[in-house]
């Protein structure tokens, strides 16, 4: 009986949890399209700052063959309490996965040999075209758009 007063109830959001095999599968994607893979967390202020750019451009480029994946490094214990509320509040519809392997040293190097583990970072790649660029820090909206346009072709 309380329901009518609660407004529309959003469907419960499910976030795919991945480990090293899931990460490797993303990194090895054979399709001929640009992947934009951002590593971030809700506890990281510069990551949160750039999140709207990823959301906006993921919509803008969804028909242009670019696939965005936002890999959250929120602690597994905070997926329900921090990550999902953040995504709901900021209306993030882009694809989000959460990396649950906390043994960071066992996988950071697989993403890029130069990465020391700081976030945010973003990886751009198209394996079919042998394109790979690792961006080692935060981006502005303009930088993100320029990088996508540069590596998309």
């Amino acid at each position: 009986m309380l329901l009518p007063f609660m407004g529309p109830v959003a469907p419960a959001r499910e976030i795919e949890k991945i480990g090293i095999p899931g990460l490797e599968q993303i990194l090895a994607s054979p399709e001929d399209r640009l992947y934009v893979v951002n590593f971030w967390a809700t506890w990281c202020p510069p990551c949160v700052t750039e999140m709207p750019y990823f959301e906006k451009l993921s919509k803008e480029y969804q028909d242009k063959g670019v696939r965005f994946i936002l890999i959250s490094l929120d602690f597994p214990s905070q997926v329900e309490s921090k990550l999902i509320p953040f995504l709901d509040k900021n209306k993030i519809t882009a694809e989000v996965k959460v990396m649950t392997n906390l043994d960071y040293n066992s996988w950071i190097e697989k993403v890029d040999s130069s990465w020391q583990g700081n976030i945010p970072v973003t990886l751009f790649f198209n394996n079919a075209k042998n394109v790979k660029y690792f961006h080692p820090s935060e981006v502005t909206e303009e930088e993100l758009r320029d990088l996508i346009n540069k590596y998309k072709e």
């Binding site: 990281c44 490094l73 602690f75 906390l102 960071y104 950071i108 190097e109 020391q116 583990g117 700081n118």
Partner: protein
């Protein structure tokens, strides 16, 4: 051809200047420094008596990963300072970018958390750049050998940020135990997710 070579070398050099240097690795000789601690005193590693080496930790007041490791860094100091390896924590963050990392806030943090180790402010960020630190926390274990500060280990404290009890690889401790026994450090470099150092803009 010569001209091309020159241009590509110049480009490489500029790239090198723009990015911070790659981190020190085991076997490198680290630079000493002179930085202000939370008591307002200038501290150099060479001035610290009775130390055979140091656990240098790039650190800050604000990063949630640092906060997760707070007790663990204090425990490392309590255990290894008496054995000749004190913790030296260094905050390299620009307070203009991260206001919670100002010198005043460092004093508050050190007092609130009862830091027993030195907590220094790398205001110019020169030390972080020289060491090639990229994130907080970022640990460098150094040993005095023949008057030089030799890097023995670079990386994380252990392999589980979220839960100290679940960490089954204690990288920093393992490295220190090997060093104290005069043995080579078996894992001398690790990587871990952390907060980017907040570099000065422009």
């Amino acid at each position: 051809m010569k001209k091309y070579l020159f241009i590509s070398m110049a480009a490489l050099m500029i790239t090198g200047l723009l990015n911070s240097q790659s981190p020190y690795k085991a076997g490198d000789v680290a630079s000493d420094f002179k930085l202000k601690n939370v008591k307002g005193e200038m501290v150099s590693l060479a001035d610290i008596k009775d130390a055979d080496g140091f656990i240098v930790a790039f650190w800050c007041n604000t990063c949630p990963v640092v906060k997760k490791y707070d007790q663990r860094l204090q425990a490392l100091h309590a255990k290894y300072a008496p054995k000749g390896y004190p913790v030296i924590a260094i905050n390299p963050n620009d307070p203009a970018v991260s206001p919670g990392d100002s010198y005043e806030k460092m004093k508050e943090t050190a007092e609130k958390l009862n830091y027993r180790f030195e907590y220094l402010f790398d205001e110019t960020q020169e030390v972080a750049r020289k060491y090639g630190a990229t994130n907080t926390p970022h640990i460098y274990i150094l040993s005095w050998r023949d008057g030089k500060l030799v890097v023995d280990y670079v990386g994380a404290i252990d392999n589980n940020t979220d839960d100290a009890a679940a960490a089954d690889r204690k990288y920093a401790e393992d490295a220190l135990e090997s060093i104290l026994k005069g043995q080579p450090v078996s894992v001398a470099a690790t990587r871990a997710i952390g907060c980017s150092i907040k570099w000065k803009k422009g």
